[in-house]
Symmetry: C2
Subunit: 450 residues, 2 copies
């Protein structure tokens, strides 16, 4: 049994180690086009900001450590073609400068996503970046040496994390967003506004509703960003306007893409092509709240899909349980989290949803250092089903309470189930009625009246 | 409709405000034997330690505020007798020094618990205390003025919180515990040992397996505690060896007590006597994991029972959902939490339980200030059911993650359900595989092998 994995980051390396654990006799080969495998890509912005010491700290295991465990990891090997009938790959060895043909019995495409690069950003100017892999981070770090003015384009999670990192480095920061608010469609307006206020409080110049039309340069280096509302001067620009799944090999293998544009897979991570699996940021998953296929590329999902694919490729039987749309980020002091669907998403799906907003403190108001926390909870009229939650917490770690709702959503619980939960109380940890319980109580009342 | 409530703290005041909301026309009278109503008793140790400014900060609403909302609150009124056939109470008005007879249509006994006082502690010596109500706290505070050596007897939650408070005040502290370890039977040995290490690291002299036999005094003031293993010198002693439910009135009303010794109630908080309800620390509840009646007096439970009783007394229909045994406390830097049953409790109940212990960091190890977190997860062989969890976290607030397990236990979820949950991940909040997921994965493996 020869298991070949294309891509050596989250899903790919999870699959490799699971497959090996399940069938130690299998030959497992990982081809990675880059210089690094098994690193925490989500940590990249934090190296730039100084919360992580260096890029090397993100690497969980080196290729040498992998090899010692019996996995064959080949860096700088880009898979450029696939013949699904013959079960062979064309692999370009960048080091040796030649292409070889490699056979497989089972193939995993863990090719991830690439940053979207709009036409205006296709530029040879120095100081214009995206952030996806370690070399991108290293390039930004080099650009920051003499930079004073940063412009971040796109106010999604990565854009927000970058804005914070640049401020931490002492740069002035302009954050441009084409849409009406920051933090993307994953949040309703109250959460978005709270995030924007935090950015502005920390000196980020936030400009929403501002499309970019071009770049200006001087002496081969970027000098500004042209927008619909004038020029933003900048000596470093990071474009973080979204990602697209890398599906070229999947298509070459004849595998079907889903409506989202990502690779369609079943719950065993199998594509529509025999012997070919897909896992990670390039693949669709099923949203357990909406029962729809979605493309929400995030770290835990990628690792989990990789495990499932690894077991199945090695002859086992594992299934991916779906997601409920949980996400979390930190922006300066704030922790911001979501799970399930927002009110806007529920409306878009035709669900009869109601949301309530509750403000409280993360622990007993009379106990030292109580900090504000806001919860928006969304439920369904009629069924009383819990649909989603959003949390904004000034003690950022308290946003992690979203997990309580996430775990319940996974079980399709009701708002009443949340209210009935025996949550932990002591004054240094919460109010006697945890803010989640207060929100569930209020939402229950609205659902009964509505 | 005349609703009379005996006891004006957690359950009593929750019942009063709920009853009034449900039936604004009802006459609602609260008799409280003490000088305060509606205060956070769980905050008392923190006033002594300085994390709460003063005792007044614990009071959520004054009697005047209650009256403005139409509730009649009578302080220093002790209910000393009940005639359940006639539906009358004997009330001793301590201010006026006379007893009156008061009628009721519905009666709520929210009489709470009293600290257990062993024979050796029945003493007239100054400087010997229990801690249950605000005046107890004030008395301890007065004793601390000139005190240098504190001895806490009993290493349950309150004893531990007091030990920390006394250390914060600069006293030397000896903590005596009759049982083999600190933190009581609510935790298995690994958690208990970790708590003991934290106490010792912070200068608390912990002596387990040490029964107390008497007190020594000098000039009317306590000077030491006699133990099985010698004398402990102390100028302030707090006895925190447990509590017993205040059931005298319930018994006088002919209401049945449960096997636990607390008042037996149904899910509507009704006692066995027509028209008489009980709620709060004096009442039993049902444990949803073990399906047994238990007496676990805690703040959220008391408030929740009070709400249920209030609605039902006012003519509505509410039910108490039961508990899953969740509790949390802070001791110095540590957050310590539990839910469900421990391995020892499961063994005692004849359940086929297995536990795993997992150590990790509360967030990504490469991100600044990652702190150790330990999780013990317990599940049932055969069924795969989740039975309980214990968490010890050096970033204390991270112990609140126990709520994820608590919410799932409420729904009788499996270990697999926990593992499948789409928990929130970003480097400042957790590892990509949250420690709860790592524990669930390992426990699943053990359950399959076991």
């Amino acid at each position: 049994m020869r298991i070949v994995i294309v891509g050596g980051v989250a899903a790919g390396m999870s699959a490799a180690s699971r497959a090996q654990r399940f069938d130690p006799a299998a030959e497992i080969v990982v081809f990675e086009r880059g210089d690094y495998v098994s690193y925490g890509a989500c940590g990249l912005p934090y190296v730039l900001g100084g919360d992580v010491d260096d890029f090397g700290a993100l690497v969980a295991r080196t290729p040498g450590q992998m090899r010692a465990r019996g996995l064959s990891v080949r860096l700088r090997h880009e898979v450029t073609g696939v013949d699904a009938a013959a079960r062979t790959l064309t692999v370009h060895d960048r080091g040796a400068g030649r292409a070889v043909t490699e056979p497989y019995d089972r193939l995993l495409l863990a090719t991830g996503v690439s940053p979207t690069v709009p036409d205006w950003a296709s530029s040879d100017l120095a100081g214009v970046h995206v952030l996806r892999e370690i070399p991108d981070g290293q390039a930004i770090q080099a650009s920051l040496q003499d930079a004073k003015r940063a412009c971040i384009v796109g106010a999604g999670y990565i854009g927000l994390e970058l804005a914070e990192a640049m401020r931490a480095r002492g740069l002035s920061v302009v954050l441009l967003e084409k849409g009406p608010e920051v933090a993307g469609r994953g949040f309703d307006l109250p959460s978005q506004r709270r995030v924007r206020a935090e950015l502005e409080k920390n000196g980020v110049d936030v400009r929403c509703g501002t499309g970019v039309t071009g770049l200006t340069g001087k002496g081969g280096r970027v000098s500004g960003v042209q927008t619909e509302h004038g020029l933003v001067r900048a000596d470093v620009v990071v474009v973080a306007v979204g990602v697209r799944p890398n599906t070229g090999l999947a298509q070459a293998a004849g595998a079907r893409l889903g409506k989202t544009g990502a690779i369609a897979v079943d719950i065993r991570q199998r594509t529509s092509t025999e012997g070919v699996y897909a896992a990670g940021d390039n693949a669709e998953s099923v949203h357990r709240v909406t029962r729809r296929r979605v493309h929400i590329p995030l770290g835990l999902t990628a690792n989990r899909m990789g495990r499932v694919a690894g077991v199945n490729m090695a002859g086992g039987d594992a299934t991916f349980p779906g997601i409920v749309g949980t996400a979390i980020f930190k922006t300066f002091g704030l922790g911001v989290a979501r799970t399930g669907v927002t009110q806007a998403e529920a409306d878009g799906l035709g669900l009869q949803a109601i949301s309530v907003d509750v403000s409280s403190t993360d622990h007993a108001g009379y106990y030292a250092d109580a900090r504000p926390i806001q919860v928006r909870l969304t439920g369904e009229r009629g069924s009383g089903r819990l649909l989603g939650a959003q949390i904004v917490a000034e003690n950022h770690i308290s946003a992690k309470r979203i997990d309580v709702v996430a775990a319940l959503l996974h079980r399709r619980a009701s708002v009443q189930d949340l209210f009935d939960a025996d949550l932990a109380y002591a004054p240094p940890f919460s109010s006697v009625w945890d803010v989640l319980l207060v929100a569930a109580d209020r939402l229950n009342r609205e659902l009964r009246q509505g």
